[in-house]
Amino acid sequence: MIEIQNLTKRYGHIKAVENISFTVQKGEILGFLGPNGAGKTTTMRVLTGYFPPTDGKVKVAGYDITEKPLEVKKRIGYLPENVALYKDMRVIDYLKFVGRVKGIKKSPKLKQQVSNVIELCGIGDMQKRIIGKLSKGYRQRVGLAQALLGDPEVLILDEPTVGLDPKQIVEIRKLIKELGGERTIILSTHILPEVQMICERVIIINDGKIAAIDTPDNLNRQLSKQLVVLMEIEGDPQKIVSTLENVDGVIEVKQKRKGKVKQYEVITRPEKDIRRDLAQAVFENQLGLYELKTVEMSLEEIFLKLVTQEEHHA
């Protein structure tokens, strides 16, 4: 349904997104994960045709975004990050306007579609209100409602649950899940449990590049089973690293903090707790151990880890 090949987007000299490629199948819910400024919104904006890519190919439903932008836009419903709606319009008038813009001409059909999305998003009580007077949560819902108008095959939702109260978040997530299946959905977020709950596949994006693509479960399995031990040791770093690496069960040693007493992140296999072995190795080599503790890896940390790993490589 969506094909992105070597997408690059530059703003002047600043590279926002670099050489991203991925595809999304029809009916799939794809999560876009990444820290602020990673390039999530930029990628989404290119997909929606808000601005063209600097380089690369983007295809939605077989149509190229630069060659047939109208065909692509007809098939996309977009909820931007900061939902900017016309503040002086009433909800119902605004949705009717969007419906007409999206090419729903006939009045009964328009009315029906508008009342459908109003019901779906739970804004029935607000339909006569002026948008500018709505709370953030309701504005978000109106934003979602306008994205759903015209029954688009692809939904692109940029942080759809930001600013909602917990009850609304649950409702919107449920709604998004229900919408998947027939529709292809890309949603960005930085709330990790959300990804785990809704998405079938996750793209972790950092610094304009893709750090990982996988199912949330796989990502979890791959990385959360590692045990990370944080150690503060004084001494010659090279010696310390080689000492630690020689301990049975160690996968990788990374130096984290500079200074006299350096911090090391020791990634170990999960089968065996080797903290004792590590401490012993340090003592045997007459190095000064200041601290030793384990770090639990939540999905949050996996995410952080992937993101920081990228930085190390760069």
Partner: protein, 256 residues
């Protein structure tokens, strides 16, 4: 096919749901009413004097004494008012961020632009249409030649569209409405009086300046003359500004 109807409807809505349209139309009518009153009062004063002095009667001419200044005055009001109408068209959308959704809807830039252009035109044409009352008022008092009046209105429409096109163009280049209004007004005023410099700048350059002058092309209309040259001037001016606006929108997208 142009798909401007939804945008047009929405823009008309925001003009008339907010106070903008009413304030603009009211100010327009107050000013034009005052100008009309003083023109008529002045003309009747001169008529009274002419009754006592038969030599003046031959110089007395309804078209030149009443219609021409009337249209010239409305032209000046249009120059004052139109920047206030056009300033918000793109600048507001950019400032508030609503462009993002607007540009992701299945509309071409031209659809959006023309929708906005026609909406501003309608708001401009409403008070222009109301000024017809003045014409009927004069007609109830005396015999009024219809030709010059028609020419004058045609001139007002063409010139107004040109002003609106320039205003939209400026609005598309900034996200600040006040800046849009001031630059539009400044440019209109400059183009209005640019012919003044023609007297001091040599024959060729002077002629160019004269031809650029917005008021010069309007003068013939207000005197009741429809010159194809003037019609073409305003149409080209309008098309050119709209074309530039399209390019600005496009380039803004490329730059992100």
């Amino acid at each position: 096919m142009l798909n401007s109807a939804p945008i047009f409807k929405k823009e008309i809505g925001s003009y008339f749901l907010s106070p903008i349209a009413y304030v603009v139309i009211t100010m327009f009518l107050i000013l034009s009413g005052y100008f009309f009153y003083s023109t008529v009062a002045y003309y009747s004063l001169i008529s009274l004097q002419a009754m006592q002095n038969p030599y003046m009667v031959s110089g007395l001419n309804l078209t030149e004494g009443l219609i021409s200044p009337f249209f010239a005055n409305i032209g000046i009001i249009a120059m004052l008012i139109i920047p206030m109408l056009t300033m918000r068209l793109f600048a507001e959308e950019k400032k508030s961020g609503t462009v993002e959704l607007l540009f992701t809807y299945p509309l071409r830039d031209l659809d959006i632009l023309m929708g906005k252009f026609f909406a501003a035109s309608v708001v401009y044409l409403v008070p222009i249409a109301v000024t017809l009352i003045y014409v009927f008022f004069i007609r109830s008092l005396t015999e009024l030649p219809f030709g010059p009046v028609l020419a004058g209105y045609l001139g007002l429409i063409l010139m107004g569209e040109a002003f609106i096109a320039l205003g939209i163009f400026i609005s598309s280049t900034t996200e600040n409405q006040i800046i849009a209004a001031i630059i539009t007004f400044g440019l209109l005023l400059l183009l209005w009086v640019i012919g003044w410099a023609a007297n001091f700048t040599g024959p060729l350059f002077g002629k160019i300046l004269n031809e650029l002058s917005l008021v010069r092309h309007f003068e013939s209309f207000s005197k009741g003359v429809i010159d194809i040259k003037d019609v073409v001037f305003y149409l080209l001016f309008t098309f050119y500004c709209l074309f530039l606006t399209c390019r600005v929108i496009e380039s803004k997208r490329w730059r992100g």
